[in-house]
């Protein structure tokens, strides 16, 4: 039984790493390192097999996946022989990519017409590939925070606004994609901090349609480390006095986040963990700086000042040097598999149990990685009996 994975941003580096990596693992050329869904804890959970995934997506970019993966190989992200080895798979996925919304985020006409067109692309893909289900995952660049609009409050108001030409901008692109996924009957995952399905109106629609949605912002690097260090201080009754995080980003991500409005969305997402985990705001903040020369690589430095018994002041610092696309790709696959399972099991509305994968989990205030993992295991095993 095939499962479709529809990637919004289907020609970006995360998508390219996802498709190339899946093909490499299938071909036996790469181990399944980094794939949470392959851990022994999920051995008996009937997740879709990697072999059964088919890829497509939306992306206005014209550079094809083969070229994109060759560039990843030149940057040292992907092994050198891989592009040639998996060329057929890359071409197959590339043939399933449609332009979607243009760079401005707007097609002519009403927002509803745009949603219809996007939904039709997804439905066509499902038909063409014979996929039983399609999971739509947003891996496009981070958007600025959405401009508030009264129609965001309920589906009744939003449904009406979508038809008004004057309200063509009622939804940011990520939410148009989320809306299109729901209209096509597909669950939706936001791997970015963009708005996506996280508006009362879209939440209402997802619940009403019984379609799962999850997000936001894949926990790939610095925040992953924070999600184990913050509980450590708490378990030892040590008082965190300040926590300053600095992220040096290259590549497309860095360029997108050089826009202060987009950076604000990202930082809000990254800030949430410490605030909720340490029980209040903590001095320091999260900072993002663009360094194009770093390419696909990202370096984060966190400086944590804490106090112990007797008022002693101490520090912990860490430096994370990671390759964002190689960290994100396996999580995208994990989310596709877990969300497909949820969908087949009849789960609708927000899925807090997928919080393990996110910096800013929907419908959950749990940020402790260990507890999140336990929730994920319990939930996934619980679903296993409940297939449609």
């Amino acid at each position: 039984m095939r499962t479709g994975v529809w990637l919004v941003g289907g020609r970006g580096s995360v998508a390219a790493a996802t498709v190339a990596g899946t093909a490499g693992v299938r071909a036996g050329a790469l181990p399944a390192t980094g794939l949470v869904s392959e851990l022994p804890a999920f051995r008996d959970v009937p997740l879709p097999a990697l072999d059964d995934l088919v890829f497509g997506g939306h992306d206005p970019a014209t550079e094809g996946l083969v070229k994109r993966v060759e560039r990843l190989a030149a940057d040292g992200v992907v092994p050198h022989g891989l592009p040639a080895l998996v060329r057929t798979d890359l071409e197959a996925a590339d043939a399933e990519i449609r332009p979607g919304l243009t760079g401005t985020g707007r097609t002519a006409g009403t927002a509803d017409a745009a949603v219809d067109a996007l939904a039709a692309d997804i439905a066509d893909f499902r038909r063409r590939t014979g996929a039983a289900d399609v999971v739509v995952i947003n891996v496009a660049s981070t958007e600025p925070p959405a401009r508030p609009h009264p129609a965001h409050a309920s589906w009744e108001l939003l449904g009406a606004a979508l038809h008004r030409p004057d309200d063509a901008g009622v939804l940011p692109p990520s939410s148009l994609y989320a809306c299109a996924a729901l209209r096509a009957g597909c669950p939706f995952v936001d791997f970015t901090p963009s708005t996506g399905a996280r508006l009362p109106a879209l939440d209402e629609l997802a619940r009403r349609q019984g379609l799962a949605y999850a997000g936001s912002d894949g926990k790939t690097g610095e925040t992953l480390v924070k999600s184990v260090l913050a509980p450590m201080f708490a378990l030892r009754a040590l008082s965190v006095r300040s926590w300053s995080g600095t992220n040096l980003l290259g590549g497309g991500d860095g360029a997108a986040l050089a826009d202060p409005r987009r950076a604000a969305a990202k930082i809000r997402s990254k800030d949430r963990l410490l605030r909720e985990q340490l029980g209040g705001p903590v001095q320091g903040g999260v900072h993002i700086h663009e360094v194009p020369d770093l390419g696909e690589w990202k370096t984060a430095w966190d400086h944590i000042g804490f106090e112990g018994f007797l008022g002693a002041r101490m520090t912990l610092q860490f430096v994370w040097q990671g390759c964002d696309s190689a960290l994100a790709a396996p999580l995208v696959l994990d989310l596709a598999r877990f969300t497909a399972l949820a969908h087949r099991s009849g789960v609708g509305g927000p899925v807090p149990e997928l919080g393990f994968f996110f910096k800013d989990p929907v419908a959950s205030a749990e940020h402790d990685l260990n507890r999140q993992f336990d929730e994920l295991v319990t939930w996934a095993r619980g679903l296993s009996g409940a297939h449609r």
Copy 2:
């Protein structure tokens, strides 16, 4: 109801920080930061109150606790006003310190006579202070690994050897103290990597007498961080390729560990976590270097090389700058309180549920800090109904 805390190494910096800190918290001059036993999770657990602790110990050093705490204040470990504020408490504890074994670790005569003398010191302290129970905790310098001896295998053999003048060296000092604690009817905790009660013969004795023992090697700094980072890699299916830890130690600890035989004991203890947590040996190792100028402060640098999806090579590094005595002291208090509770609840033999506090936990292969904490909470709450 008073609880006695008998510290082997009672005039060292950990002991000094323990006694001074307790007095400071009692006086309302210091918060209870760093005390795990004060976390909300233990609110309903009937632990001995801080106000009810009385201190004594063994130490051949002649510099009194007041001077020692003044030196800690000069080093910035203890707030400046504290030594004057808590002078009475320091003098009271200091008056309860007996020389114990001399620097050579040997008194004249048989080992049994030495154990008797040590046990008598502890019993006198209990009588004099009216403590219901006394917990004996070893916070002395790390010993070299014990020389193997056939009499370590059972209490029958050891009991006999203790009486033989030719076998005066059958036990290392830490084990003589452990033996004395058991002889005095007291539970024993080893906060160092020394042998202590971890010999088959002493384990047998502790079980037979229904006395609890716990250890080894308080998890104060670098290993604490490792105990949350190692599970993080595992939960994300990331493959750890190398993990190199370097510890710069000053003060007495650094000097003791400049002796390669003592360092070996420490490193063995520190190594255990990664080996057991990552499912096998990992390249890199743990290294200890003495830098006297660091005084009470310790700096650890860990370099972790790991591999993700697509074979991408990444690194995480951390630098921990901590004050060992300020980190150790609250754990000593926690251990005194939890062990006293265990003793009153009739717990005998090794206590794996105290593994949360140790690098090298007795009778446990669990090193994941979160799981250790859950075990501790469940165990402590379970004991609450079961008082003698």
Copy 3:
């Protein structure tokens, strides 16, 4: 022969550390560590003796120097016994502090009247203390960059504007102080990145009056390290691809620099070195983040990406943990001594040879610390024969 040191910001932490440290060295309680002017290279240079320095200054703050130094002692910057030991010296300096410009930077009336009043304070101090010369040094908080004004172009225009009530804001506070120093016949040093004497009109005045001025922005920490690392890459023909500096500042400095306009001034000053030393702009930039909890302590992390032979990409990172007031104070003393010598030797106008001490040296594009030191030595020795 007494030499006056007039500190603008005379009750801030740098001033407090300067006065307390001088007194401590005089009293034999502290070594002269950090004092460049005490190096053997200057043994035969007739600098004013530390014993002959007398302190005064401008500061609207009302907390006296004794209290300020006691707070430095509580923060661990100054040894604990010091405030009591040097109390007399602190009180003497404190008695010589006048409010100067208020927080708004404006006294009533024209700018000229303000300059007159400030100059009178300095002249009174000289008279009262019998100092042969007074060096005025700005150690106040960083200002925002000065608003451009046509009268900055020449002393003729500025002299006229100072008298116009409508142009009361023609000069920022640091330049009013610089102008007052010159009017009182004193050389002026700007230890901050504020405008100070660096306007064509004031440069012209200083040259015309034969009064030395120097600046800007004391090279105390991160930039000091950069001034030796950047030449290292150049000497080895290694190509620096990016250099990102992140500064975590506490204390008053952090709060002042939380104002983005003030931070801009600081960053411009800090950026200059790499641009001029590496022959062009380099990716990355300098970032300043406020972390009040760090107090007097500052942590900087620099990440340098560079390329070597064969195109190999490598990185160097450094973390600097320094106490800014303890780093700045000896340089303030050095500058007072060298500038007094220059003054006595008839040096007027900008002094590029003092560039060794500054991030943003006047009249110099040399940033290599070693070459700057050689220039300083040659210059100081050359002055030695030329006393007025």
Copy 4:
């Protein structure tokens, strides 16, 4: 006019990077990054052109240079297309490699016979390639420190010992190679900390024959950084209290230095700088740990504790992540060119002016990188008029 470069260790990774990089620069495929001899300061110095260098060497390894460079490409040290591009040059150099001494460092017979055979290899290479001069450079693995032998004291004693079968081990391999270079009339450079020419007897021989020799231990990474940071502290009168360096090495270097006797030689060389630059021993030391997984990459962490004015304790830490072969190769080329120039200019005996390139410079106690560079420039320019 051709210049021969004879590399002892001619099939190791440094040699491979040297030959491949030279070919890549010649072919216009690589910039001359990292080549000091290409800096503007040496524009008018008549160094041999890169185009005129020909390579050969001694190495008992059988894996050819083509394979070795392909492995460097797989490790990301050398660009992927390079091995194919420069294959002809690699094969040409490989054809000039002779086995030399076997792994045990001993051929049958007397040491003199071994030296003769090695010298003949070098002379044959000179003849075959028509090189005017040949510079012999040792880039083999680090040896243990040489066993002292009375014959090391003078050439008279050594010359005799070389002929005695019982004294076949009088010289370590690196010194046999040095002796062979001198016998063949070639200058000798030791890029490793091995003994090489640094014995009184060989120094005497080199002087007598008017042949230059230089060394020891190329200053490629951690020590390079130290050579600018140590003077920085000195120029600022800051007191270095401790300096701890930890080096994680992979590849062959790490394996060789896992032998404590070899590590001792390396550490002695690395230690010299701080001791001589800071005017005495400093706490901390240099430590080397093997981490095979790091391959050609090396990571060093240095922790420097220092004291400033007012006794304030501060720290500087740095982390160097470099590729040793890419750092070493251009220095090998620089040394070949400068040494060839020296040879043509009639320079004999130790060359302290090449200290810029070494951790442990012969006949020099200068370790300040800037002063070393100035010495190099002055010397090289001075030689320019003096060609034979």
